[in-house]
């Protein structure tokens, strides 16, 4: 083998190595661009879905009789305002209703307080995809529209389904309505058509925006009670 061929072979190898290195660089650049593009597209898809969901709540039908910018139903007309945020699927809310319900009723009867119930839906994930929290809150809105919020609110907690069950179906929600005198077709239609479901979503969003992150959240004249018991309630109302 002559010196010339050896040098040529070496030169060829260097060129090949450079080409390979160039190819790797190009692949790295293009794959990086692909990664950024995929992530951007994912972000845009997420944002798009978010915007479309937001539009839904913006056009939500507000049930007649709702107070606090149409996000709550009130009992009583006393000077002290009690805001209660509850999810109908929340066991601790059930406990709160059991322990403090009578006290609240008494305070309302004594004309000391106005209780504003905000039925929010943050526990939809506990009903096997049937969105019981949203459906129950929407049904409560339909009851409120017919002037029976307090009564219906009570039977919903009395009949609270287990977490991670399917929740109560729409037929059962309508039956419970009948048990408190919601016998006209308008209530049943509202439940079946999910008329106030986007309202329930809106109430939930409004509550979240106000910093409500769990249920039950109880505020007396805007101040949150860390441990809402009958004694604490009476103390806060004064």
């Amino acid at each position: 083998m002559s010196k010339g061929t050896k040098e040529r072979a070496a030169a060829r190898r260097i060129v090949e190595q450079q080409r390979a290195a160039e190819k790797r660089r190009a692949v790295t650049v293009w794959t990086s661009i692909a990664v950024v593009a995929v992530l951007l597209i994912a972000g845009v898809v997420g944002y798009g879905l978010y915007s479309s969901q937001k539009d839904d709540t913006a056009s939500a039908a507000t049930p007649p009789g709702a107070v606090d910018d149409g996000t709550a139903f009130a009992s009583g007309d006393g000077p002290v305002t009690i805001d209660i945020y509850e999810d109908f699927m929340c066991p601790v809310c059930h406990e709160f209703e059991t322990s403090s319900g009578a006290t609240l009723k008494q305070l309302v009867t004594d004309k000391k307080v106005t209780v504003r119930y905000h039925p929010i839906a943050i526990l939809d994930r506990y009903s096997n995809g049937t969105k019981y929290s949203t459906r129950a809150a929407a049904a409560a809105a339909a009851a409120g529209a017919a002037g029976k919020f307090a009564e219906y609110h009570q039977v919903l907690f009395d009949n609270q389904p287990e977490e991670n069950s399917n929740g109560l179906d729409d037929a059962k929600l309508i039956d419970l309505g009948k048990s408190v005198g919601l016998t006209d077709a308008a209530f049943g239609d509202a439940v079946n058509s999910g008329k106030y479901e986007s309202w329930a979503t809106k109430v939930t969003e409004t509550a979240s925006a106000k910093g409500v992150t769990g249920t039950p959240t109880v505020l007396v004249n805007g101040r949150q009670l860390q441990n809402p018991t009958p004694a604490e309630l009476e103390k806060a109302v004064g």
Partner: protein
């Protein structure tokens, strides 16, 4: 293996949240680190980013970059958990769920959540150090892996 493990982590974490973006937004909001409207946007985008990152790692495209982004995200999540812990907030990290505040009687498990995230961070670290793995798009595109 590290690649597929981290890919699974992202796909599962994102997939669980992608079905309810509003809840995901509430989970972000529970950290109380940003205004609710910003938390909603982050909550809506984040699950898709997680799934996309998982898929990229799964097929093995630009593994080093994907692993780097994974590491950055994990550090941000851990910072969020630490700050929630430091402020005494009682929340679910929302890592593999839609999170949110915990009910009375539930105690947060920040230490365990942080330990788990550290494990994921190690996976990302391994990939940063040795991004070349078998059966990946990178390998195919670049020719035989050396």
């Amino acid at each position: 293996m590290a690649r597929l493990g981290l890919a699974a982590v992202w796909i599962v974490a994102g997939g669980l949240k992608v079905t309810d973006l509003a809840a995901s937004g509430r989970a972000v909001n529970a950290y109380q680190l940003m205004p609710y409207s910003a938390a909603q946007v982050v909550g809506a985008i984040q699950p898709f980013l997680e799934v996309a990152l998982g898929l990229l790692l799964l097929v093995g495209l630009a593994v080093r970059l994907s692993a780097g982004i994974s590491a950055v995200l994990l550090v941000i999540f851990m910072a969020g958990i630490v700050s929630a812990w430091a402020r005494g907030l009682a929340i679910d990290c929302g890592c593999f769920s839609k999170g949110g505040a915990l009910g009375a009687g539930q105690t947060p498990e920040y230490a365990w959540e942080l330990a788990r995230d550290t494990g994921f961070l190690v996976l990302a670290g391994i990939l940063l150090w040795r991004p070349r793995t078998r059966v990946s798009m990178d390998g195919l595109l670049m020719g035989v892996a050396r």
